[in-house]
Symmetry: D2
């Protein structure tokens, strides 16, 4: 598979963004701007924005709004209003549950960033380089639910960063117990999100509902796929999640106990060699290196490393002995790109490249 | 013991600050300003500053320089230049080792914030509310070394915060294994310390030499004292230390396994009830509450809680079950006050109140 | 007049805070905690919070909520619900206009932080040290409007800082033309106010409606009072207002042209000597020095100087020649204390001390 | 002139960076990485670094050090050690004065970012889009000084941002008087530069020597060139320079009086139409738009706009009436790219494209 392949004979495929005006929706729009395979055809949002031009109802957060989206009409999120066969869901979890189901029932492939369906047994929770096998459960999902479309989810942003750093180690040495302490960027809370009076020069040692979500999703991301079913990993996970005054980039400190104890060097070798599933090589949004190991003593750092691989590369470093478990290490990745919209786009590319989804 | 007692018949006792021009030295000077028992009589620093007025050679970092110190002559750090019987050492560890010994040999009581002597068996590493018993080892120290003075140390700033939060739990339930992940303020690195280009909007997941120091000192702080000797705790400790863009206040996330598992409520009850060693009650720098438990879901926070008890109170919260060990909790305290200069001053007060040190 | 005087025979006077749950309302409550003359008797807010306990409906922003307010019942902002003769208004300008009038009509003295009535000719816009004479217009206000109560306003936070620094110079040398460039703290925008994604590591060179407000209010603050009427200063004012990532403290760069050009030293002498109106000396919230001149080349700075005089002192420095006008200087003051709630409380104290308002 | 032209027949021209290990030196190296015309051949620094590999002696500040420079040997800054005909000077002003002269005397073209020679009458102070005519003075410089090489300077970072925004207005309406208030990023102070304890959550209303430098250089940048001589503009300039907690991007608030008063719309039209000197069109580092006018009410903002045109575009907005002078506006640009290293590289490109400098 090479970067130049175009799965649909050179014609771009129309896609829609649901929840297009919010922070994640905007990131989808930035990533789809000039995408070689997909073309942003439709933008949908809540009733409040519907019927107006995107540029009128959207307070653009980062950089500049692409001209191509400014004049698009915003439609209400409803399958009846959307013709694109592939939809990216950036909807709030308060509404994503039923709306995503409605789209899947209507034959759409829903690439969802919402938490609602992530842990359902017949819904893939996918990082393409890590566990593309979970996509095979789509067949069960369609059969179980009588859908012609499907819901495919990407994970919580912090879980994505941790899982990418741990995947090569887990594959080789099998993780048994895992401590995670995160320092998460404010962009993870959307917009307006965290008030500046809460976070300037401060740390908030709490993110609502984040710890159970992170612990749960780690077990599914690093789980297996057998007999048509996703199996959860039995590793034990404990997490401490914190908000810090950083714009983008979640940093995760990890202490890991394995079934088979690796040396520090063996772990570094495995991290350095890892390229992720071959299925992803050459996909438009796949970075040359999904994981980069750094031997600088004080890296990764969010402000300095977050944009590696256009925000799709996770950086890992500080691999060292742990006085309690086996190894300690630090991972950092872009929470709104790799950990949210970019992950969904890469999921869609993999589905397209493997023929699971097809143009209308 | 009541706050109004004055151990020296109402006359203030002259003290000196060694390393007076740096960040920790300045904090000593702020805390000694208007101290009811001690009077800042002498300021000593390196050759570079010696012979000049304090106000000329010092770039004052926080608030305003007290007028009383501005015109003091700076002397070279040497016992020959200092007459005060009690000296506070804010010297850099590159010189503190031998200089502190010279002062102790010359009959001075050295209250040290430097790391050099902390782990020596006959040197007390003291948080007065937690382990005042270690002060009894001063007798051995003087005998062993042939000194008439002595060195008494306070701990690393992050270790101090963690040990104060854990002391009541350890006393009751005995800690077996401990994970610590810290988010440390920039003032912990002194001045100029951390460059703004390194930390603005960033996290640095590394502080040189901090992790072994923190792990080691926890075992001495929460160790015991028996048969005239300090015994180290056998708890196993693993730590991840991080620098964050916060001015003052180290935040520590902890997962703890005990010999005897407490319920969350039992732990909260113990934390709430704790007042620390009675020996400290009523000392001028002792806060009404050495430890405050908060039930707010998102506290403690450095910017909001750091000044509680004039920076001498540690705040603890988020006590909850741990999927791996027994309990998780978060502690936060002022790193340059409770975790450095304020801790030393409180040590001196305890030594004075108990008659170990006496005016010349 | 001495600090110990108690204008009401030692009995505290009940007061109410309108708009008590917001950021400014909370600051009023902090400042009234342990006030020697006033006692917070009532808290009022919008319908949404009414009927509940203050502690339940309020997300406390800074430090800890005083216990004394936690269980107070919140009433709807309406004169019928409030018995206190003095009310502090922290209401949003969208509702403050008519509600404040209703309270004044009902015989209350309304100390308002809202912008609505500031520029009305018969409403005093007062900084007690600067222009207490404007309070004499209360008589006209009551006559004009048929009220037994009255509305007294304090100025925009940036205007207050600039006016305090300029008052002594204006009095002596008469300002003709004035350039102001502000760097304003996020707390000036209330809570949640400025989103962290908007301001972390950033500058926003715009604050809605701030520039005309600032320019206008300067002319009233530094205006005069003659023949029972407030006269606006004819100085010309141009302003640039900016938001910066600072918690508290507005910094204002100023270039000033005078009718009579002072030397730099003459200006410094005037700034140093100024103590403000004698009427304010000894009032409980009046700082020993309303204005402090600093000769440090790089001060005032918000984080380091903002709490001087418990947030009631404005610091001024960098007085130097201006290549275009006459002098350049920098002023900085606490925007939510001196520039908002603290200013209102000081206004109330002055009204009480001078017998304009009396206990019920 | 088109972007594809290569002035030297397709062969890259070797260049050196003097002061290569510091912050500005590193920016030169990043900008020269993959430059189509120039190839970084040599790195020179002080004695302390000389004789070692660049990667060993350099603490890389931003992103990742290019592999191509890591193993280069660092030589002492001395013409005898450098063979490249073009050298970029990122030296500290304490040494740049004489060393740059030595290089020019030795036949090198020195593109200097240092302040030392900027204001000398026969040294061009150039922003290529604004005042390329000053380059003609090189002939006089060589004649005056008996040099075969020459020194060409770029301006102070804040002056560059202001001059680019004002150039089109000055050309059309002639500036008479100018107020500038800057909010400057920490990267402008180099590395380690501003201590985090000084700037976190703070503003420093002072930058050493910055105000006179900024005022002076504005007059040369917006001056003229006639009869072989550079003439300084006679506009009067007053400035207030401030440091703010921003990583990159200087923001400048300006009030301008013109000889011929333009309407707001006329000014906007001129700003929007401006493309800068045609000589620069198509140069590798020249952005498509040297100046972008934004009509967003709250832009430009450093974090959001600083990277426009790869850091070479200045953004200008908030053009509005000024109650005192004629117009107020805000400009923002990247201080270490457009305002430092990028400006020097663009100067070199213009000299190469116009044949003033030639390969060895």
């Amino acid at each position: 598979m090479t970067p130049s392949r175009t799965p649909f004979g050179g014609k771009k495929w129309p896609v829609a963004v649901l929840g297009a005006t919010g922070a994640v929706g905007q990131t989808f729009i930035r990533l789809l701007e000039n995408h070689p395979w997909f073309e942003l055809a439709e933008v949908a949002a809540s009733e409040r924005s519907a019927g107006k031009k995107y540029g009128e109802v959207t307070r653009w957060i980062e950089g500049r709004m692409p001209d191509s989206v400014r004049d698009k009409n915003v439609v209400i999120v409803d399958p009846a209003n959307v013709t694109s066969p592939v939809v990216f869901s950036a909807m709030d979890s308060s509404v994503a549950g039923t709306l995503e189901e409605a789209f899947a029932k209507a034959g759409k492939f829903v690439l969802s960033n919402a938490k609602n369906h992530r842990m359902e047994p017949d819904v893939p929770l996918v990082i393409p380089e890590v566990n593309p096998g979970q996509l095979a459960v789509i067949a069960s999902q369609q059969r179980n639910r009588g859908w012609t479309g499907a819901i495919v989810t990407n994970a919580n942003c912090a879980a994505t960063v941790a899982a990418m750093a741990l995947a090569p180690l887990h594959e080789k040495f099998r993780i048994k117990r895992l401590f995670l302490a995160t320092m998460q960027a404010v962009s993870g809370a959307g917009y307006p999100g965290v008030a500046s009076l809460d976070i300037l020069g401060n740390v908030i040692p709490y993110i609502a509902d984040e710890e159970p979500k992170l612990e749960r999703e780690m077990c599914k991301l690093l789980g297996g796929f057998a007999n048509g079913e996703i199996t959860l990993s039995e590793m034990q996970v404990s997490s401490h999640t914190n908000r810090v005054p950083v714009e983008h980039g979640h940093t995760v400190c990890m202490s890991v106990e394995f079934h088979e104890r690796p040396s520090v060097q063996a772990a570094i070798d495995v991290l350095t060699a890892w390229r992720g599933s071959e299925d992803t090589h050459g996909l438009p949004s796949a970075p040359a290196m999904p994981l980069v190991y750094t031997d600088a003593p004080d890296r990764p750092q969010p402000r300095r490393d977050v944009n590696l691989g256009n925000g799709m590369t996770v950086t890992v470093g500080r691999v060292r002995e742990d006085p309690l478990f086996h190894l300690r290490l630090v991972a950092m990745g872009h929470n709104t790109i790799r950990g949210a919209a970019g992950g969904s786009v890469l999921n869609a590319e993999l589905l397209a490249a493997t023929g699971v989804i097809r143009p209308a």
